[in-house]
Symmetry: C2
């Protein structure tokens, strides 16, 4: 059974860069620098969207970081209310950006504030056509996919009712993203998410670790931790339909990869290559 | 704020016909007859998928009903295990069908059994290109959309944790479907589903009532009950990001329509017309 029900890659899409939270920001901000380069470095125009956070300093803080990295232009769009997401001046600024960075906080703040507005539509449409690269950390990573983990419980065993899924920004339907993965013991909630319907793959991002998802749906791992890829395409059984509330859920034939920096994963072919393997081949 | 972030209609798509359960099957099976006509009547080839049900008679029962209605060919594809969904003989039969009917039962039985398999891919792909019309009742209705209500609590007030969403078949991203709507007091869980991210619209189907969703994303209501359309595109506030578990959720500016038989709704323009209004205009 191959990945046949996933959407085919859209080679015209912009990059998607979910980050597991707590990314290095000062000495060697490898992930943020790489994202800035993809957006054009000194020619980049990055819009910081701090909606997930309730702290006023979040946007300006990332403005400083991106400026120090050498990004040509960076500005904050502090969408706080749904009506903010229809402001013509801010929409014009967003339209001028070729990169968006969504900060951490609470992903439900983003979905309830931005979901279904002109801002959401502009990000979706401009990413779809390749005009916009989108990165986000922690909550900003979770919001990206069609199916978003809104919140859930800790632990490595999947249990019914362990996780709450909600519609996200919908930039890809092919993955479900979780973050602070190892640090907050989230394998169970990612497995639970996939046990409902093993169509997408699961990506668990450790802190200070990013998945650079290229337009061709290949992933490269960057950062000091690892990403855990959970591929349910060979799953032969899930008991989610009969599990009682809070019961453990049985799932059979999950394929799992843990990939550190330099590792790659192709969402279409489902092939994982560790950095060390790639070196051996060369 | 208009429906700008919804996907545009795909005019090449086949019909989608979610039914609220308990549809009239014998004296005047209006909904099933209309679906049969759309599939070509005596030239129709309808595949019944009874996976949601655990009763062996469910498939043959619908075979009899569709045969009596005058459908040319009808057969059951009893996918029970995930490996069934890779059987070449059954896939060939499915490929020959121009209509699929999914029965009631438990929608998680369908998503855990069929999700991510060749059967799911074939239904998605053939519906997308217009080769296949898809109907389903109760669980078979819930499974159709991208975001599926897996289960939830009764009551009309939305509350945090009242509903569990999971990936469905993904035949449309523009609606969330609920069924047995009035009979099981499900307005609250539909509102809760939309409060996470007001991007899709909500459709609550009463029993013996169907939404005939045409390829241009216009809906016509058929049956003895009503459909409740919940349009969150003007929602100005949702408290879902701050609600504690089981707390009521505040939502502001929901537009709601209740449409009986002959009523229509355009998902793209969000315009509702009651049957009585249409008569006045004519």
């Amino acid at each position: 059974m191959s990945a046949r029900t996933n959407d085919r890659p859209n080679p015209d899409r912009g990059y998607l860069v979910p980050i597991g939270g707590a990314e290095e920001k000062f000495r060697t901000p490898k992930i943020l620098s790489r994202f800035a380069r993809i957006c054009g470095g000194k020619d980049a125009r990055i819009a910081v969207i701090p909606t997930a956070s309730r702290l006023a300093e979040t946007g300006p803080r990332y403005e400083t970081i991106f400026t120090e990295i050498g990004v040509g232009e960076v500005f904050t769009l502090p969408f706080e209310k749904r009506s903010d997401c229809e402001r013509e001046d801010w929409l014009a600024q967003l339209e001028s950006a070729n990169g968006v960075f969504m900060t951490g906080g609470n992903q439900l703040r983003i979905s309830t504030t931005v979901g279904g507005t002109s801002v959401a539509e502009m990000i979706r449409e401009r990413n779809r056509t390749g005009a916009l690269h989108v990165a986000g950390t922690s909550a900003g990573a979770s919001i990206m996919a069609e199916h978003m983990i809104a919140y859930g419980d800790e632990g490595s065993t999947p249990r019914s009712d362990m996780v709450t899924l909600a519609p996200g920004l919908g930039l890809t339907q092919n993955v479900i993203i979780d973050q602070h993965f190892r640090q907050r013991d989230r394998l169970g909630r990612l497995l639970t998410s996939l046990a409902y319907n093993p169509r997408p793959i699961g990506i668990g991002l450790d802190e200070d670790t990013a998945a650079f998802i290229a337009p061709d749906d290949t992933i490269e791992v960057v950062g000091s931790g690892a990403i855990t890829v959970v591929d349910p395409s060979e799953m032969s059984f899930s008991s989610m339909d009969s599990a009682k509330r809070n019961d453990p859920v049985s799932i059979v034939n999950i394929r799992l990869h843990v990939l550190a920096e330099g590792g790659t994963y192709d969402i279409t072919t489902r092939r994982a290559v560790a950095a060390e393997e790639a070196l051996e081949t060369n």
